[in-house]
Symmetry: D2
Subunit: 117 residues, 4 copies
């Protein structure tokens, strides 16, 4: 029986404890964590950089690429949670607020799709 | 009484419905979503680019900067969730697996802090 | 008769004088300039993020997009030159050395194209 | 006697021939080259991500870091030149025009330094 998935709050706490146990606090300024997040995002992008849109849709068919994708996505989330933690931002509430604003900014079009912003 | 915070899964579903209602599916290839995630990460970094480490620690004291930080963090999370959704990656399980691997890779040092990887 | 194009070295000098006249030296640490370069690269990417490969080939047909592309490419080059200047890196010699290494690393294939690294 | 440094135009031509000989043309869409440029910019940033501003000033004192810095700066320039080449943008003229616009946008302040834009 698979273990139930951890919650975001549980993972955030584990990341905080992980960094504290290793004395990484002084390195984890908001600026450095934002920069590290952008570096991890680029590592995720790198997987796709020479792929056609169609090839990118099939990336999970190759087990090694699938593992790499999940691993880099995890790194992005890890730095996002640590960034939010040091600044006291609640990422779930921030996203809920953003979705509400976007529902006003981008009303459902009456006559078919338009590209994203 | 404040509403309870939404869960990650609820927000992910809202993002999927939001994009579907606007016909954005064809734009939301894995490659484009990874690229959009990296663009949003850079917008978060931009807030900090000329700040000293100390100034970056105080970013939330200015209400306008605080709002911008939360807004860009929300954008990063939004694209990360949409990326994970189109590829069938569970971001919480991926992060839990990553933390476990890192606990092996980076044992707690016996003699004081070393910089992160 | 159009003026002859400036050289890279002339532009680098103008950028140095521009920043010095505005007292930007203390902001222009190597770290900050590398970060600013990555932010400008993301602004260039943003122009293309929802385009198909074919649409991206035709970006210069729209005068407004063409201007934006040239402008963001200029920003990338500006920060790259300032970064190289503060660290004493000669970007032309560094690139020449890199091309020579790559000619060894990626020999011309005998039997047709393979994707880039 | 050291060889005279190559010009930007000479290096751009060598990059074009290098890619053509390897059949990389189909991969080198403007979108992919912009994305590759941003990935290389992130690799440059990664060198600095946990450094203090002061440590970043001394990065060239360590020969291995100095080599890595020059190498990543070369990669950024390589993709920028290839991007400009496929779109017919002259990077030197674009930068000259940008500097002229910035001289108007950011007049030299009468009373001391203000942070960059």
């Amino acid at each position: 029986m698979p273990a139930s998935a951890p919650t975001l709050a549980e993972l955030q706490l584990r990341l905080v404890e992980f960094a504290a146990a290793r004395g990484w606090g002084p390195y984890h300024t908001p600026k450095n964590l934002a920069v590290a997040l952008s570096v991890e995002a680029a590592e995720l992008v790198e997987i796709f950089q020479w792929l056609t849109p169609e090839q990118s849709e099939r990336i999970m068919e190759d087990p090694e690429s699938a593992h790499r994708v999940a691993d880099e996505a995890a790194d992005v989330l890890a730095y996002l949670l640590q960034f939010c933690q040091v600044l006291g931002v609640d990422p779930l509430r921030a996203l809920a607020a953003k979705i509400e604003r976007n529902e006003t900014r981008f009303p459902v079009p009456a006559e078919g799709p338009a590209p994203p912003e």
